[in-house]
């Protein structure tokens, strides 16, 4: 498994956002996480990418523990310099893109590989151009983020995450900030990555996309995994009442 999260607990100010969640992702697997807002989907991604610290449980990347429950029941993380290694295993694509506005598209893709991973400029730029080519925006390499459409910006953000050569890529509602006519171009590149067997976890409200692209769908609500399984089963034959109610909203 690329990542394994066991018995994850996380609360904000007394409110339990994640209640004992466990899940894992195999290499090459594409997992969609669906569920109403406030169900803990984003928090789960943020915990997996170390933007939030868990209160309890285990986070295991490539069979190595990044966090585990200590003797006092609280989560213990590895040392900061070791945590950097774990960060390099995962990439995250944000809902709001979060590109660096003062860097050109190319530099957005090359700065972290050069500064963080100490790769050579030539190698970083070559990788970056290949990725931009794949995203269909190679002609925008010299442009600045503000000059791009939302869909193009999100494709740059995906390329930026891929430039770090992560083992797994997380998407936090990658199309929610986009106009409807721009979501297609972003979903297309994610689908393309799925075809190339990139390991991905996608939090999304795009049900047709989740159904078509993922190998597994997880339905979350109230900080727990209510139901999960093959997308066909979950979407067409949900077992839990809560899942049925949620999916009915999308049928209208």
């Amino acid at each position: 498994m690329i990542i394994e999260m066991k018995n994850i607990k996380k609360s904000f100010g007394g409110h339990d956002v994640l209640k004992d969640i466990s899940f894992g992702v195999d290499s090459g697997e594409v997992v969609s996480i669906i569920g109403p807002s406030g169900s803990g989907k984003s928090t789960l991604l943020r915990c997996a990418t170390f933007l939030e610290t868990i209160d309890g449980g285990e986070i295991i990347y490539m069979d190595q523990k990044a966090a585990y429950t200590g003797t006092d029941g609280k989560a213990v993380y590895v040392q900061p310099n070791e945590l950097r290694k774990f960060r390099s295993y995962c990439g995250l694509v944000f809902q709001q893109f979060n590109l660096f506005p003062h860097y050109s598209v190319l530099k957005n893709l090359t700065d972290a590989p050069i500064q963080v991973q100490k790769r050579s400029r030539e190698e970083a730029e070559e990788t970056a151009m290949e990725l931009l080519e794949k995203m269909g925006i190679a002609d925008k390499a010299k442009a600045y983020p503000y000059q791009l459409s939302g869909g193009q910006q999100q494709r740059v953000a995906i390329a930026r995450a891929l430039a770090m050569k992560p083992e797994i890529l997380f998407f936090d509602e990658p199309t929610s900030a986009l106009d409807p006519e721009l979501t297609g171009e972003v979903l297309k590149v994610i689908r393309q990555l799925a075809d190339e067997k990139m390991t991905m976890v996608v939090v999304t409200h795009e049900m047709p996309f989740a159904k078509a692209v993922s190998n597994r769908v997880i339905f979350m609500d109230g900080g727990v995994i209510v139901e999960q399984g093959d997308p066909k089963d979950v979407f067409e034959n949900p077992q839990e009442e809560r899942t049925k109610r949620f999916l009915r909203v999308f049928e209208r």
């Binding site: 960060r87 390099s88 944000f94 590109l99 506005p101 003062h102 700065d111 972290a112 963080v116 995450a161």
Partner: protein
């Protein structure tokens, strides 16, 4: 005193004015950043100390602060203040302007969306590298108008050096005007200040333009 002697004397004073101006910026621009970062320190004692420093500096007149820095060592410790005039002047200006710059920096740093920090964190930048490469360049662009304001105020504030009888252009204008019973020195001083600020505004505009390549 001929007009040209008057002009030359005052031009020499203007050089000293520029000296105060340049040294103050050289000291207060970086010091302000240190103060701004200390204000975000995780030690509450440090934050409290910085708060006191900023409120005292902002709550008292710069003129008074200059007098305290100059005469303080004598009255408090009985030390000789010979040769202390110029150093105390620069200390007073630097500490005063650093407080104001610190508040400008803090405002700028806090205006950067949290997503920028998170993107940098996920990409593995260390905190220091994220600040220097991702946050600071954006902060500088955002605070340029406020900094310009402050720098222009500084050009005029240098005239407060007259309280310590430092022979910059304003002190000289007052002295020459009194001794020659002439209004001319004030006119010349006014022209000098205006030209200096015109140059400052021009320079700052150029910098703002250079940062205009992104939004």
């Amino acid at each position: 005193m001929t007009l040209s002697t008057m002009f030359l004397t005052m031009a020499a004073g203007m050089l000293r004015t520029c000296g105060i101006f340049a040294l103050t910026l050289l000291g207060s621009l970086p010091l302000g950043m240190i103060v701004a970062l200390l204000k975000k320190s995780r030690f509450s004692a440090v934050r409290a100390l910085i708060d006191i420093y900023i409120s005292v500096i902002r709550g008292t007149p710069l003129m008074l602060q200059l007098l305290v820095w100059y005469f303080g060592p004598y009255y408090l410790f009985g030390w000789s203040i010979r040769g202390w005039r110029f150093p105390s002047l620069i200390i007073g200006f630097v500490l005063n302007y650093a407080a104001y710059f610190a508040e400008i920096y803090r405002g700028g740093i806090e205006s950067i969306p949290v997503g920028q920090y998170e993107a940098a964190e996920v990409l593995g930048y260390t905190k220091a590298k994220a600040f220097m490469r991702i946050i600071l360049p954006q902060v500088i662009k955002r605070i340029m108008p406020s900094v310009t304001n402050e720098v222009i105020t500084l050009v005029k504030d240098t005239s407060l050096a007259f309280t310590l009888a430092y022979q910059e252009v304003f002190s000289l204008a007052k002295q020459i005007s009194a001794s020659q019973t002439s209004f001319m020195p004030f006119v010349i001083a006014g022209v000098f200040y205006f030209i200096a600020n015109y140059a400052v505004a021009f320079g700052m505009k150029r910098i703002e333009k250079a940062l205009d390549y992104y939004r």
